[in-house]
């Protein structure tokens, strides 16, 4: 009872209770709030340690863009683990799809439809998506209908699909990708630009406001208790600050000198004093879209409800008349789609595909989901949590690398965070009941 938690931010009981009451009134997931606080703490800590240099826009954008590939797959891994399954094959599926993209654009298209055609990259994306769906469906079928444990099936997938990568590539690295495809990877050329970024931010702010309004009206309609007004406004203001802050940081990153000179030469203007704001990188836009769609599927659709019900009590789900097998198979098809999206970003970032692309991602993705509050007991986990989990992992990785910690020791730190997060969950759950 009196054992203290090292990570606890609360000093006294009464203050803690008051803070908890305030948090409860906003109906925000305390776990998510804790992760945001942790993330801000990490950034401030490293910021102080490095005299602020680590908080430069380019550093923040770099680790965020790297985290995207893990975060996208982690949104699906939440549903996999919630339904009491696992997917070890994600890195290999990503590898197969990324290699498909690269081979199509590097080897197939030049001899068929030509290089850098307006639609070539879309054909590649479509083909990759289809392969992701097929690989996901095969594994999902074996797990859901043949009742083979998911650990075994996806362990097989991990091995077999990595082997398939070499078959597709012929053993060599495939590069480069289509120049339009590369935009998906982010960087100065793969971002929205200053003006569009602000417009994008404005759309999000309006969407947040509408969402809050709609929810409140919906609860009023049925006469349910609503959040206090200060909490609604508070959530709106925090959302506004996050969006404005994100766009401002993105826009504070300017094109480097080399690109400016190229651009000036192409447009016949002087590079002197020319400043181009990069803006929000495309991977961040894609991650936002994926997170919204996945959260929608998980919380607003029957599919998501069934996934959580299966995780909470598989027998109850079956007795409720739910088609549990088709639900499980759909989760794995969804994983294939997410791997294909992530593969596009991974491949675009390195402008091609290597045979080991995606190697070891399964562990990072699972770690992100678990740090984000997903429980291996099943039935518990949130998609925004997993996204934040991925960002926390990459914030740590990038910052530790920045201060010169060797990569083996980065892994040790991440392992400690992983176990601490689960320990915290176990502790708080035990105290809650």
């Amino acid at each position: 009872m009196t054992s203290s938690v090292a990570t606890s931010e609360h000093e006294t009981g009464s203050l803690r209770d008051r803070v908890m009451d305030l948090v409860r009134a906003t109906e925000i997931d305390g776990r998510l709030l804790g992760m945001i606080v942790t993330l801000i703490g990490i950034e401030i800590g490293f910021g102080l340690y490095t005299g602020g240099s680590i908080l430069s826009p380019v550093n923040l954008l770099t680790f965020a863009t790297q985290a995207v590939q893990i975060a996208i797959i982690a949104t699906g891994m939440v549903l996999v683990i919630v339904s009491r399954n696992i997917d070890l094959s994600v890195g290999s599926v990503l590898g197969v799809v990324a290699m498909t993209y690269a081979v199509l654009m590097h080897e197939v298209f030049p001899t068929t439809i030509g290089v850098d055609t307006p639609y070539g990259w879309l054909i590649a994306l479509g083909a990759g998506l289809l392969i992701g769906i097929i690989l996901g469906a095969i594994q999902g079928f074996l797990i859901a209908y043949m009742k083979i444990p998911s650990f075994v099936v996806t362990l097989g997938g991990l091995l077999a699909f990595r082997g398939l990568v070499f078959d597709i590539s012929g053993g060599s690295t495939q590069a480069p990708d289509d120049t339009q495809f590369v935009v998906l990877g982010g960087g100065p050329l793969g971002s929205l630009g200053g003006t569009i970024s602000w417009a994008f931010g404005a759309v999000i702010i309006v969407a947040i406001a509408l969402y809050l309004y709609y929810n409140r009206r919906q609860r009023r309609r049925f006469g349910f208790p609503v959040r206090p007004m200060w909490a609604e406004v508070g959530i709106g203001v925090v959302g506004l600050l996050i969006v404005v802050g994100g766009v401002a940081i993105s826009n504070a990153y300017h094109w480097p000198a080399g690109l400016i000179e190229q651009y000036a030469a192409q447009h016949g203007i002087s590079p002197e004093g020319l400043v181009i704001e990069a803006g929000v990188p495309w991977p961040a836009v894609i991650l936002l879209a994926v997170t919204l769609v996945m959260t929608f599927l998980a919380t607003k659709r029957k599919f998501g409800r069934y996934v959580y019900a299966i995780g909470g009590n598989p027998e109850a789900a079956e007795l409720g008349g739910i088609n549990t097998r088709w639900t499980i198979m759909k989760i794995y098809i969804l994983m294939g789609i997410l791997c294909a999206i992530s593969a596009a970003i991974s491949s675009a970032q390195i402008n091609g595909a290597t045979n080991d692309l995606g190697n070891g991602y399964e562990l990072l993705v699972i770690s992100a989901a678990v740090i984000g509050g997903t429980s291996f007991a099943g039935g518990v986990g949130t998609i925004p949590g997993a996204v934040l989990g991925a960002i926390v992992i990459y914030a740590l990785r990038y910052n530790l690398q920045y201060i010169g910690l060797p990569s083996n020791n980065q892994d040790i730190v991440i392992a400690v965070v992983l176990i601490a997060a689960v320990a915290f969950d176990t502790y708080s759950r035990r105290n809650a009941t």
Binding site: R305, G312, I322, G379
Partner: protein, 290 residues
Amino acid sequence: MSVQQQPEPRPPAAPPPGGAGAANVTPAAVAGGATAPLVEMRHISVAFGGVKAVDNVSIDVRPGEVVGLVGGNGAGKSTLMRSLSGAHKADSGEILIDGKPVTIANPRDAKNAGIETIYQTLALADNINAPANLFLGREILTGVGTLDDSAMEDATRKVMGRLNPNFKRFRSPVRNLSGGQRQSVAIARAVHFNAKVLIMDEPTAALGPAETEQVRELIRQLKSEGLGIFLVSHDIHDVIDLAERISVMYHGRLVGTVDKTDVTIDEVLGMIILGQPPDKLNREQIQSLR
């Protein structure tokens, strides 16, 4: 043994189907065959491997009637009921609802036929809230196909207002609820969808005295509304108190179905323990049970 008092039908209660004068049907008249059976299970057999868990059993229930299904552990009561609720398909035999044969291959078939089940385990998903459990598999959707959580919460508040007015925790996962509250969620799920037939598997096994009395009162109310109820129970007193007829199973077989008014509690115990119908039991055998 005292004759059970017939509860007064409540004003909002639907009159039991079955023709003229049905509203005044007494349990004895029902048991006497005044009404056609709501559900008939004929010659049902279920085997697990070589073991016949249910062996050629036929039982039925009529509108506004409670049929107690009793027997020792492993007698096959729950297995028989699971084949009616769609949890496990019977190997042979037929099920008739309102005289028409139906196929019940899964829980959805049973629910579509108006058969609802309250399982001994309650079959709740602990990680989701009461409205989500109540509508599990039968969610209310909005016009654009999303879950209408507000409408489901509203409906849950209404049904709980009737069953358990003290219930307030509509938004927390049911794992945080007390045993009685969880039980009321499971019952609400069964009665909300206008069931014709209710299967209650040990509905009071995990409850305290006050909550048990609440469930008994609810059973009487539902009976007066014209539902047919199969009450599976270990508790012979529960069954004697609530049921019109009692079907006794022994090692997978049906020992017999008796009218409550025709038998003594000792004779029922004899059927349960010795597996013999009352007319085959002699005084010494019954005495030996004491």
